[in-house]
Symmetry: D2
Subunit: 138 residues, 4 copies
C-alpha cells in the first residue's frame, strides 16, 4: 500500500540557493505520513488523543535533484517495517508533471505513552491497528 | 527596561530572494521575549507550567532593510502595554556592527489558562509578576 | 476577485501550546498570494525571472481562534491596494467544515528590481499586469 | 578539530508533542557548520560569493532524548570525510548543563558551481581551503 500526497513547494521553503531547503523534506514526509495513517480509518490526531505518540528515532534523507518554488510534487509514503515498539516509513518525492524522482527518505519512530513518554506496545495497545498496518506491508 | 538579544541569521531562514524570509522575524521577536521574561526572575516555560499561556492576538512587522545569512543582529525587546487580560511587546532589530535599524514590530498577547484556553486575570493569578512588569513600562 | 486556497495544518506547524504557531500564518498568506497571482495568467516565479521581486514592507496578523494539526482551512486572498510602487493584499483564514473565520491579515509589498533591489514602477515595467490587477480591486 | 556552538531551543521550534520538532535538528547542524567553516579564515557566505555552493546529498539524524523549549544545547561539529567532489560533516547535540548527548547526525554535501549547479573540484577551485580542511580530519 502506497499513498500519494500532492505538495506545492512554498516560497518560504526555499533558501538563498534558490531551491527548497533540505530541512523541509522531513516536513513533507510528515504530511505524507498523515495521509497514510488516514487510510486506516483513523488519523494521527486521534492516536495522540488516545494516548499514543510516535516521536522520531532516526531520519534519513537523500537529495537527488532540487525542488523549486511552485514545483508540484508527489510524496509517496509506504510502511517499511513494524514491530511492537517501532515503525519505519519510506518516502519518495516525484516532481510533476514528468514524475521525476528527486529525493527519498525514511523515518523510524517509537511508540510512546503521550503522558509519560515511556514505550508502548502497539500490538497490545491497539491490536486492530497493529494488524492492519502489518498487513499493509506485504 | 529593554533587553538586547543577539541573533545570527541562519541559512535556513533565507529564501530565494537571498534575504531572511519575513516569517522569521516573529520567531526572532519570540527569542527576544524569552530573554525579556527571564529578567523577571522567572521564565516562560515556568509560566506555562504554572498554568498560564500567552497566545498571540495581534502581530505587526515592519521591514525596512533586508537581513542576510550570517548577519549579526540585535533584537531589542520592551513592554509597551499591560492590562489584566493582555500584554503588548515592542521589538526593534538592529544590524551589527553599525547598529542599523532594519525592522520593528509588536506582538499583543492574551493571558489564558493552559488547560482550558480561557482568559486569566494575570493581576490576580500572578500579582507579583504583574506589578513588576507594570513597573518596567514607566 | 477573491481566490480560495485549501491548506491542511501540518504537525511541524504546531508548537508546544498544541496549536499552529503564529509565524506560520504569513506562510499560509504567501501560499494564498501565489494562487492569487496565478489567476492573472502568470505566476510569481515568472515575475521574478522577468526581473521583479516583491519584498514585504509591512505585515499584520490578527489571531482569533487557534488552528490545530490536521485542521482543514481555506485562505481567502484579495487585493486591497495597488500603486506604481506598492501592493497590499488582504487574507482571511476560515476553518472547515463550518467555515469559521479564525484569523486575518494584510501584507504590503514593494516592487523592486531582482538584481539591484531598487524600486521599480510596475505600471511602466508590466503595464498589462498592472491594469489587470487594478481592475481586480473594483 | 571540533567546533562547539551554543543553541537555545526556540518556542517556534517545538511541536504539539511539547518537544523540539525533528526537522529543526538539520537547521541546528547548519548553524554548527557555519561556525566550523569560520574557523578556516573564511565563511560560507564568502564561498558562495566566490562561486561555490554545497547542496545536501544525504542527511542522517538520530534522536536519542527530546530537547525542550529554552533548553541550552551545544552542537559539536566536525569533518568526517573530504574528497574533490564531496564533504561529510558529523554533529552531536549535548543538553546543558549536564552535557547529555541527546542526538547526532551527518550531512553529506556536493561542491557545485553557484551559477550552473554543476560539480566543482574543490581541490582545484580552492586548493588552500581543501588542504586545510583535509588536515582538520587527521
Amino acid at each position: 500500500m502506497i499513498t500519494k500526497t500532492k505538495i506545492v513547494a512554498r516560497y518560504a521553503e526555499t533558501d538563498k540557493m534558490g531551491i527548497v531547503h533540505h530541512s523541509v523534506y522531513p516536513i513533507w514526509y510528515e504530511v505524507g505520513r498523515t495521509d497514510f495513517i488516514k487510510r486506516f480509518g483513523t488519523n494521527y490526531s486521534t492516536l495522540e488523543e488516545a494516548g499514543m505518540m510516535m516521536p522520531l528515532i532516526n531520519l534519513t534523507c537523500h537529495y537527488g535533484l532540487p525542488a523549486k518554488y511552485e514545483d508540484e510534487l508527489i510524496v509517496e509514503t509506504k510502511l517499511l517495517k513494524l514491530s511492537c515498539g517501532k515503525i519505519t516509513f519510506g518516502y519518495s518525492v516525484y516532481k510533476q508533471p514528468a514524475n521525476i524522482l528527486i529525493g527519498s527518505g525514511t523515518t523510524e519512530h517509537g511508540f510512546v505513552d503521550s503522558n509519560t513518554f515511556k514505550p508502548i506496545n502497539i500490538k497490545k495497545f491497539m491490536p486492530k491497528l497493529f494488524n492492519e498496518l502489518k498487513d499493509s506491508i506485504e
